[in-house]
């Protein structure tokens, strides 16, 4: 993938992030110490199965886990503010500062666009409300111009008609593009996309991905792209993190991960990807991913791993670092 307009400065660094959900018996860990870093203008892909903690990671980065349902139990999330060069620790700032970061600096688009819009409010008011949060005084004219430009950049025209419609009047793909425009309204530098295309048809998925790539270049966005589909991630990501049972098992530049996977889970995941016209060559990973909370000692992938031996079941493998890459496996040192 081309390197777009990347500089080497970090914009977001998360260190040893853990989160857990409450349940009647005990707390269920969903994230167990995940490190991620994002450079200015870079796109990282987060891949994992359901239960791997990938969506929890998105919520954690924005401190959006519902207080009644769970909590962030550890780690630091540091955001580098551009104007002042100041480092903001998102995990410890107060709520009013946090509100200035959310939407303004880091934005989120979710899986189902229909649930992220209020069905009884026209589109324009969604934009207006979102703008008002970060701009106390503004001219209606300026907002209209800004929104029209954004809608134009996600290929929704004519703006006037779009803004006067209710969410249900759109198809899923159009509404997802509108939600991208809404997410970019306050000029965020980071966009978190949590499975943005998994509720859409394949031809629509293609359009949404193209829009996303286009926006990335136009606004110099840094993107965190979360998906269970590695083929989709490969279209946009520069670096990839593979999550399994709440931990990163492998990370590194996309090209190296795909050409030379080191962790057995990554290897198996790549083999199980569907290939067009490759009939009869389905290779799946045996067994099932552990449920959050049911993780035993040792490597969490060991029960499904064909390379595993006694040691793998006893001790948790520490990450092996090699240049930009990292993986956690005893068998691949």
């Amino acid at each position: 993938m081309s390197k777009y307009c990347m500089s080497s400065g970090y914009i977001l660094e998360a260190e040893k992030v853990s989160a857990e959900y409450f349940s009647s018996e005990k707390d269920i860990p969903a994230l167990r110490g995940v490190d991620i870093s994002l450079r200015e203008g870079e796109c990282i892909g987060i891949a994992g199965e359901s239960g791997s903690g990938k969506s929890t990671l998105a919520l954690t980065l924005l401190q959006l886990i519902d207080e009644d349902e769970g909590r962030i139990s550890g780690g630091n999330i540091v955001f580098h503010e551009k104007a002042s060069g100041e480092k903001i620790n998102i995990s410890s700032i107060n709520k009013s500062r946090l509100r200035k970061v959310r939407g303004k600096e880091i934005s989120l688009i979710t899986q189902d666009p229909y649930t992220s819009f209020n069905p009884v409010i026209k589109l324009y008011r969604h934009f207006r409300e979102a703008y008002r949060v970060h701009n106390k005084v503004f001219k209606e004219r300026d907002l209209k111009d800004k929104v029209s430009e954004l809608l134009d950049s996600v290929n929704l025209r004519p703006a006037e008609k779009i803004l006067n419609s209710y969410p249900h009047q759109f198809s899923g793909g159009m509404l997802q593009r509108a939600s991208m425009a809404l997410a970019l309204l306050n000029g965020p530098r980071i966009l978190i996309a949590d499975e943005p295309t998994s509720s859409l048809d394949v031809t629509i998925q293609k359009k949404v991905m193209e829009t996303l790539k286009d926006l990335r270049c136009r606004y110099n966005l840094s993107i965190i792209f979360i998906s269970h589909d590695l083929n989709l991630i490969s279209e946009i990501a520069d670096r990839i993190y593979i999550l399994y049972a709440g931990k990163t098992v492998e990370s590194g530049p996309a090209s190296e991960i795909f050409k030379n996977p080191r962790h057995p889970y990554t290897e198996a995941l790549l083999k199980s990807l569907p290939k067009l016209g490759a009939r009869g060559s389905i290779i799946s990973i045996p067994g099932r991913a552990p449920q959050p909370g049911a993780v035993k000692e040792g490597c969490s992938f060991a029960p499904r791993c064909s390379y595993a031996d006694k040691k793998c079941f006893k001790k948790e493998p520490p990450p092996v670092l090699s240049g930009e890459r990292a993986w956690a496996c005893f068998k691949r040192q």
């Binding site: 993938m1 989709l232 490969s234 569907p274 067009l276 009939r279 389905i282 990973i285």
Partner: protein, 258 residues
């Protein structure tokens, strides 16, 4: 030999008002022809609104076609005076397809008894275990409830329930689109294995041509209630003739590194 042939299947849904008057109608299927030959996997691809699920429901007699006919091969009906439907269905949503209040054992017992036309109590435990073994769930407890299983396991249970009736045709309506990629591969593998071991014909419906191409021997491409292309899987993937098929193939994400 064909096991099932559909001729000019049309389906019109109409909306009725308070006094039964017609308010409007939608033509979901506009005359679709298809064939399923014995022991093959027919893939049906199309996006939402293409009518592929309506076609599946018509094949399973959940809906009546407005016009057109389904011709089952005679052999099925002469062989045994079956009251039983020759097709069974596997559904998309693994969470909604199993009754949350029934144990796995009861669900399978009911399915086997419906298939064998025998009373519920005469079904032995070995028969249940055999069906579970077919879908790779040998070890589960017969007293467990659906919510105790993962999405992939629920989908296996759904397939087990369909197999328990010993159908001639398995209709899978988007069986993998709610699952993670690695679990998708497991279910596709399972459907392939059932197809070859039991010589069971399968209709496999999906919106993703990539997935369909992994397991089907012939493919029917649908758009807006019409069949736009039908033929052998290799031909359709390698030499698509309809513009829409080409569009579907182009939309498949291409991994630049592999």
């Amino acid at each position: 030999m064909n096991i099932l042939e559909g001729k000019k299947i049309r389906k019109v849904f109409s909306r009725e008002g308070f006094l039964g008057e017609q308010l409007g109608c939608v033509e979901a299927l506009k005359g679709v022809d298809f064939r399923v030959s014995a022991g093959e996997i027919l893939g049906i691809v199309g996006e939402s609104g293409s009518g592929k699920s309506t076609l599946a429901r018509i094949i399973c007699s959940l809906e009546k076609p407005t016009s057109g006919s389904l011709i089952w091969s005679e052999k099925i009906f002469t062989e045994k005076k079956r009251k039983l439907h020759p097709a069974q269905m596997v559904f998309q949503n693994p969470y909604g397809s199993l009754n949350p209040k029934l144990t796995v054992g009861y669900m399978l017992r009911e399915a086997i008894s419906a298939g064998a036309l025998k009373p519920l109590k005469s079904i032995k435990e070995e028969e249940l275990r055999d069906v579970l073994a077919d879908v790779g769930l040998e070890e589960i407890s017969l007293f467990s409830y659906p919510h105790q299983f993962s999405g992939g396991q629920k989908q296996r249970l759904g397939i087990a329930r369909a197999l328990a009736l010993k159908p001639r045709l398995l209709v899978c309506d988007e069986p993998v689109s709610a699952l993670d990629i690695s679990v998708q591969a497991q279910i596709l593998e399972l459907i392939c294995r059932i197809n070859s071991e039991k010589k069971l014909s399968v209709i496999f419906i999906a919106h993703d041509i990539e997935v369909v191409s992994m397991i089907s021997s012939s493919i029917l491409v649908m758009k807006d209630g019409r069949a736009v292309e039908y033929g052998k899987a290799e031909d359709i993937i390698n030499r698509p003739s309809a513009a829409y098929t080409k569009k579907l193939i182009e939309a498949v994400p291409v991994n630049p590194y592999l």
